[in-house]
């Protein structure tokens, strides 16, 4: 368990690297002691100096190991290649400047020249030499990072060659310092091999082209400076006049060659990068543009699938066109239903209204068929009014149509106050945008439309519920009379109405009405009729008077093509009579004495004519009713229900049902009729409102009228 976890830790790359460095350092230290003690080095140190020197070197090596731990971080810490490159190149310059500063200090104090005597000098040499070595090693780290930015299949080998080679150079140099000068050539060869290897290691530099224009300029300046500085360091390190090499050698044998190697690599790397960048500078603008185009189109495609709000969509499109095409004003005009500026960016809508009157630009688009592009509006006589009204807001202009089903439904405009702003690529891009936007806007517009129809539907549901409440919730329960009623509109709302009211003489009066036409307008009249009937009934002595007064109230206020048919029956339990009036309505069916009869007294539809004709035409009938008599009131949706094969339902079938029906429950008779209508209509959509009222007179009609009447009052009120 513990062993396993230790092994796991040891397998982590940074620990392995640290351990490797610590071991290598220990080995080098041992070698150094050995050769310093026994070799014939030009520098001779006292015992105390040797101890201090050794201690400092140990600290150095430990800090190197620590550094390795610190710098070996996961890749994710670094962002884009451009970010890594920025940090690496700026470090290269700063590090090189630091080393040059140290070299400068060395030459000022002339440390190397003194033949290394004295503890203070020894300390100073170590204090200046160790940072120099660390700075150089840090350069190597950043070089490695750059090479790893875009690894290829050989990069691991190349890396091994570089690091292994560097270790080998160190070893060779330690040998050389131990009075074996013959190996000097070997280290030179090694340096050359490593330099060639590093040239191969970093051939993949494609990411450089993804830098933006300004990044390229900066990158070129920094990497050029970096390579120049590294050349300076190389010269100073290896010229006889400088003591930098000596000082480094004294810190660690071979450190001078290692530093030389590192700066050869730095120089080669940054020289190459600066050349690549220099060559790509002329096309930097184009590359920038392409990148922006690609990003913009990617964003647009994303928005198409996610944005259902057309306003939001047009906003993002306008911003993209502005940024990518370099336009200052972008606007979208919709011309399919309502001609309007749907969105404007960078220009006031009022200015646009002045800019073109009544779709002038759209006619341009029609003439040019696809895309319109003007470099300088001032030079276009046909755009005279446009130019004059524009208040010089726009001089360059591009227009691309928004197409849906090969029809122009809108246009995408991009304008700029300067002339000759837009390139041909801009026009092509605007067209590409417009094509994509058409699809997206179509989606968004359809979505908004469906939202509207959804709202309409929910309003219709509310209307349906409201109208439901206009009809009686229940039928009156009267002794001696059983009543049942049913009403169903063909659509959400209908024009059928039924109600039970009390007349002035307290007779119960059943009213059934049917407004001509269907749907909303019928529903409004239906509501109006209910109000009128409820208001007038208590003042009317007979159903005839009620219907005449209703006609008087609505005549003249209805549409000419609309009218209402009504039937009203009032029951007098005392006299065992039914008073019946019919204003253009379907007849009353009554089953009595073993047969079913149709009663169709004369009467005009309500609202057709004024009171003069209406009142004189209306005929009131009185029927005697006896227990067991069945009465049926209905609207024409019942007898005119259609069926593809059997035609119309007709009155005969209703009469048959009345005759066949063998119990005295109004509800059961109603159920049979409603079922008949539904079955007869079959699959066909109900196309007219259906209302049925059934009344069956019970035992005791007439003889027990008074008692019934009292009971009826008690129940109804």
């Amino acid at each position: 368990m513990t062993q396993q976890s230790i092994r796991q830790i040891f397998h982590r790359p940074r620990f392995r690297l640290a351990a490797f460095l610590a071991l290598a350092g220990a080995g080098i230290l041992a070698l150094q002691f050995f050769f310093l003690a026994h070799g014939d080095s030009s520098v001779r140190l006292s015992a105390a100096e040797q101890i201090v020197h050794a201690l400092i070197t140990v600290v150095t090596l430990l800090s190197l190991a620590g550094l390795a731990l610190l710098i070996h971080r996961p890749e994710t810490q670094f962002g884009s290649p451009s970010e890594t490159f920025r940090r690496a190149s700026s470090y290269s310059v700063l590090g090189s400047l630091g080393i040059l500063l140290i070299i400068g200090c060395l030459s000022v104090w002339d440390i190397g020249g003194q033949s290394a005597a004295g503890l203070g000098t020894c300390l100073l040499v170590t204090l200046l030499g160790v940072p120099m070595l660390l700075l150089s090693l840090r350069q190597l780290y950043w070089l490695d990072r750059l090479a790893q930015l875009r690894p290829h299949k050989y990069s691991r080998r190349v890396r091994a060659i570089i690091f292994g080679g560097a270790g080998l150079v160190m070893f060779v140099e330690v040998l050389r310092s131990a009075n074996m000068p013959s190996v000097g050539t070997l280290s030179a060869i090694l340096v050359a091999v490593i330099a060639i290897a590093t040239l191969f290691s970093g051939w993949r530099r494609a990411w450089l082209s993804s830098l933006s224009k300004s990044e390229k300029y900066k990158g070129f300046a920094v990497s050029f400076l970096g390579s120049v500085l590294s050349v300076c360091i190389l010269v100073l390190l290896n010229s006889g006049s400088s003591d930098a090499g000596t000082v480094l050698r004294r810190v660690l044998p071979g450190a001078d060659v290692l530093t030389t190697l590192i700066f050869v690599l730095v120089c080669l790397n940054y020289a190459r990068i600066s050349i690549v960048l220099l060559l790509s500078l002329p096309t930097a603008g184009v590359m920038d543009r392409r990148l922006r185009e690609v990003r913009a189109l990617a964003t647009l495609s994303r928005n198409i699938t996610h944005v259902n709000d057309s306003g939001e969509l047009m906003r993002s499109v306008a911003i993209m066109v502005r940024d990518v095409c370099g336009a200052q004003a972008v606007w979208i005009e919709r011309i399919d239903q309502k001609k309007e500026i749907s969105y404007a960016l960078g220009i006031k809508r009022n200015a646009l209204k002045r800019l073109y009157k009544g779709g002038h630009l759209q006619s341009l688009l029609d003439a040019e068929k696809y895309c319109f592009h003007a470099d300088d509006l001032d030079k276009l006589p046909q755009l005279q009014d446009l130019r004059l009204d524009s208040a010089r807001n726009i001089r360059s202009l591009m227009v691309a149509p928004l197409m849906q089903d090969r029809k122009i439904v809108g246009a995408l405009f991009a304008g700029h106050p300067d002339e000759f702003v837009f390139e041909h690529e801009d026009v092509a891009l605007l067209t590409a945008f417009a094509d994509t936007v058409s699809i997206a806007l179509e989606n968004a517009w359809l979505f908004e439309k469906s939202m509207k129809s959804e709202r309409y539907k929910s309003q219709m549901r509310v209307a349906h519920d409201v109208q439901r409440k206009l009809l009686p919730e229940s039928v009156p329960r009267v002794a001696g009379l059983d009543i049942a009623a049913y009403s169903s509109p063909a659509y959400e709302v209908g024009g059928d109405y039924y109600d039970f009211v009390r007349l002035a003489d307290d007779r119960l009066c059943a009213v059934v009405a049917d407004v001509s036409g269907k749907g909303i307008s019928a529903a409004f009249y239906m509501a109006e009729i209910k109000g009128i009937v409820l208001a007038l009934a208590p003042e009317c002595g007979s159903p005839g008077e009620l219907v005449c007064k209703v006609n008087k109230a609505v005549h003249g206020s209805m549409e000419k093509r609309s009218f209402i048919t009504m039937i009203a029956v009032a029951w007098d339990p005392h006299a065992a009579e039914l008073s019946l009036v019919r204003a253009g309505h379907t007849p009353l069916l009554i089953h009595q004495d073993g047969r079913t009869q149709t009663y169709t007294p004369k009467g005009l539809g309500v609202g057709l004519v004024g009171p003069g004709i209406f009142d004189s035409a209306l005929q009131e009938m009185t029927l005697d009713v006896h227990p067991g008599d069945k009465v049926l009131l209905f609207t024409d949706g019942v007898n005119e229900v259609h069926n593809e094969d059997k035609g119309e339902l007709g009155l005969e079938r209703l009469k048959d049902i009345l005759s066949e029906h063998d119990n005295f429950k109004a509800e059961s008779l109603l159920g049979r009729i409603v079922r008949l209508v539904a079955e007869f209509g079959g699959e066909v959509l109900q196309h007219d409102d259906v209302t049925v009222v059934t009344m069956i007179f019970g035992e005791g009609v007439g003889q027990e009228a008074n008692r019934d009447r009292k009971q009826a009052e008690a129940v109804v009120n």
Binding site: S516, K518, G584, I613, A617
Partner: protein
Amino acid sequence: MSNFSISVRNHDLATVLHISGFLDAHTAPQLESRLESLIKDGVYKLVVNFDELDYISSAGLGVFMVFIEEVRSNEGDIKLVQMKPKVFTVFDLLGFPMLFDILDNEDEAFVRFSEKGGSQDSSSDAEQDVNDSSEIRRGPQ
């Protein structure tokens, strides 16, 4: 769905509209716009032949009410002829025979028109009332 058609034929004494098919809420606007354009052109003597009309709904009936007042105030009329019994029942239920001349055939209608305006033949009190245009539709206009 739209199995309704109108054909217009000019006669010396009146203009005859031959309607066929179904006259309901969907097809009524067709007839209404046809009548409207005829009346706009000053045609006030109209005969509507119902010979081939299979069905009429309340919305179809309403169309005739829209124009009757204007036509009669210009000494014309709309006469309805050759109705099938089923169609006549609908007119009858609503009391239209009191408002309109509903006749057996076109010739009868022409005879009525030739007799001066169509309001001379009043055989009942009710009909006389109807033809008194002041009684029909005192609309807001």
